[in-house]
């Protein structure tokens, strides 16, 4: 699967642009703020129906414009696929595959799998557990198109249960039968999400270990562990036993919305005790493992988007990463960098041909 052509209309800082890509490595070079990352984000949007960086859809529209449009021509399983997406202000976004509109966006997610590696990924280590659950959810939703629906349903049941707990506290009216209904609904959908996350982690962790060891040559001992209250306890029992506590705190204190990934280095938290370089290697291994996992599940190679990674990685790790790229482990790659010469030099070293695009204030030349 690869992206042959991309056209943008009023997307972020692009009024209009059309690009034709190489099946292997494509590089966008230009100054900071020129719009290199926006091109990666356009590809991300077409594949996963949302921006990687900003969850608010209308903010992807060029300032002063009323709508944006993206179109990608892909080759997938020897077929040409035209994916078009458009968003008008105050309207629902539209996704079309070969001119036919999708009824459910979830049916699109995963057809064109993608992995993005960006400096913003550091939030996976330093921010709250929500970022880590998002990473897991993003991986699973690309291989299971019911997963997102299940997650949306769970969150709605959770919101309802929390609202109910607040209303019980406010009004003093407690109807155990009503609370029980939301318990049952949370358990039914939470249990299914838990099983899927558990299965994913069982496949994912060995792949992660392999990538990390290759990238760092076993310099450090790191560990990735999936933690969920549901691993040791029955969810229905948890909710039951915590009814009093939930009523006092006016929110649901147990469930898969408390799931966590723990990252450690030599047994200590990566967030506090990992050096910047160690954290970066950890993140890249995490993303490469996501890539391998998606490839295993799909049977073909996802797109790999590398945002500004040469600036952030030391020479040795960059060389390792590029060796992997050149060993044909990867399919189509999109890469951004401020320095065109550096890109050419790196790929020249490993004799991989690269198609270079120069990006300047919302215009692209190849």
């Amino acid at each position: 699967m690869w992206l042959q052509k991309l056209s943008l209309l009023n997307f972020k800082n692009y009024a209009e642009a059309e690009l034709s890509f190489s099946e292997t490595v494509n590089a966008f070079a230009g100054d900071n703020g020129a719009g290199k990352t926006n091109l990666l984000d356009a590809i991300h949007y077409l594949c996963l129906c949302k921006s990687y960086f900003n969850p608010i859809d209308v903010q992807q529209i060029l300032q002063g414009a009323d709508f944006f449009m993206l179109q990608g021509v892909f080759e997938r399983a020897a077929q040409t696929e035209v994916i078009a997406c458009s968003l008008k202000r105050s309207q629902k976004k539209q996704f079309k595959r070969n001119k036919k509109e999708y009824q459910r966006l979830a049916d699109h997610i995963g057809l064109f799998p993608l992995v993005m590696i960006s400096p913003y990924d550091i939030s996976i280590i330093i921010e709250g557990s929500e970022e880590r659950r998002k990473f897991v959810d993003n991986s699973i939703s690309q291989t299971d198109n019911h997963y997102l629906d299940e997650l949306i349903a769970y969150n709605k049941h959770l919101q309802n249960r929390n609202s109910l707990l607040r209303q019980i506290a406010d009004t003093g009216r407690y109807d155990p039968q009503l609370l029980e209904i939301f318990n049952e609904r949370l358990v039914a959908s939470g249990q299914r999400i838990f099983e899927k996350r558990k299965m994913f982690m069982e496949a994912f962790i060995p792949v992660f270990n392999k990538h990390y060891h290759y990238l760092t040559e076993d310099a450090e001992q790191v560990e990735l562990v999936y933690e969920s209250q549901l691993l040791h306890d029955d969810f229905a029992g948890l909710l039951q036993r915590n009814t009093e506590r939930d009523r006092i705190l006016e929110r649901t204190t147990t469930g898969i919305h408390k799931d966590e990934l723990s990252f450690t280095i030599h047994g200590l938290p990566m967030k506090k005790f990992g050096s910047q370089g160690q954290q970066k290697s950890f993140l890249i291994a995490l993303k490469l493992a996501q890539y391998t996992y998606l490839q295993q599940q799909k049977g073909f190679k996802p797109l790999l988007l590398l945002d500004d990674i040469f600036d952030k990685l030391d020479e040795k790790r960059t060389r390792k990463l590029m060796q992997m790229v050149s060993h044909d482990d990867f399919g189509q790659i999109f890469i951004t960098d401020t320095n065109a010469e550096r890109i050419l030099r790196i790929f020249d070293d490993i004799s991989v041909p690269v198609k270079l695009f120069n990006v300047d204030k919302g215009t692209v030349t190849s």
Partner: protein, 205 residues
């Protein structure tokens, strides 16, 4: 918008409070009314004033009614042993249109959704339980939309009614109804009422 008249502006402001009506549409409607005879416009506004001040809710089934007891509840030929539970008056109209149902109704006035501030106390649940307790009701049909809120409400009513000597049935729900009773076509809706099935707690699959 710049109005040449304060009266015009007020009327447009009132119309644009209606759901789905923007300022442009409101202006078109108001100008249209201005072109009608004074008598017709008075009939129009009188209908609205009376609607709001004289409308009642049937004290038995809570459907919108002109009397204390609605025509359906008052009719002798209707089967008093069956109650069909619906969300609002539009569902009553849709089911009546099928000509396939001869029992009574109970209008809940909404669906349970704590995140929207709607709990059983905001609905006519207590009065339903009283009706089932006191009357000679043999069957209760749950005819609520196949949405998350519809499901929640059904589970709740089932818990409230399951220990009473009454049969609980449900109409076939799902894709055929597009989620909303009022959008279902008459034939499909009529058939699903005739072929209703005993309700089983299918929540925990």
């Amino acid at each position: 918008m710049n109005f040449s008249s304060r009266l015009l502006e007020n009327a447009v402001a009132e119309f644009s409070k209606l759901p789905g009506v923007g300022q442009k549409t409101a202006l078109r409607l108001v100008l249209h009314l201005l072109n009608q005879s004074q008598e017709d416009v008075e009939k129009f506004s009188y209908a609205l004033t009376r609607l709001r001040s004289e409308i009642r809710y049937c004290k038995t089934c809570h459907n919108i009614s002109d009397q204390q007891v609605c025509e359906i509840c008052a009719a002798h030929k209707r089967d008093r042993s069956i109650i069909c539970i619906v969300e609002d008056t539009r569902d009553v109209m849709a089911i009546e249109n099928t000509n396939q149902y001869n029992g009574l109704y109970h209008v809940l006035g909404g669906l349970i959704s704590p995140m929207d501030g709607i709990g059983p106390a905001e609905l006519t649940v207590d009065s339903l339980v009283e009706r089932v307790k006191n009357g000679d009701v043999k069957e209760v049909i749950l005819a609520l939309s196949a949405t998350m809120e519809g499901d929640t409400t059904i589970f709740y009513l089932y818990k409230k009614l399951k220990d009473m000597p009454v049969q609980i049935t449900t109409i076939a729900r799902g894709i055929a109804f597009g989620g909303e009773l009022e959008y279902a076509d008459e034939i499909t809706l009529g058939r699903s009422i005739v072929t209703r099935v005993p309700y089983e707690n299918t929540m925990v699959k």
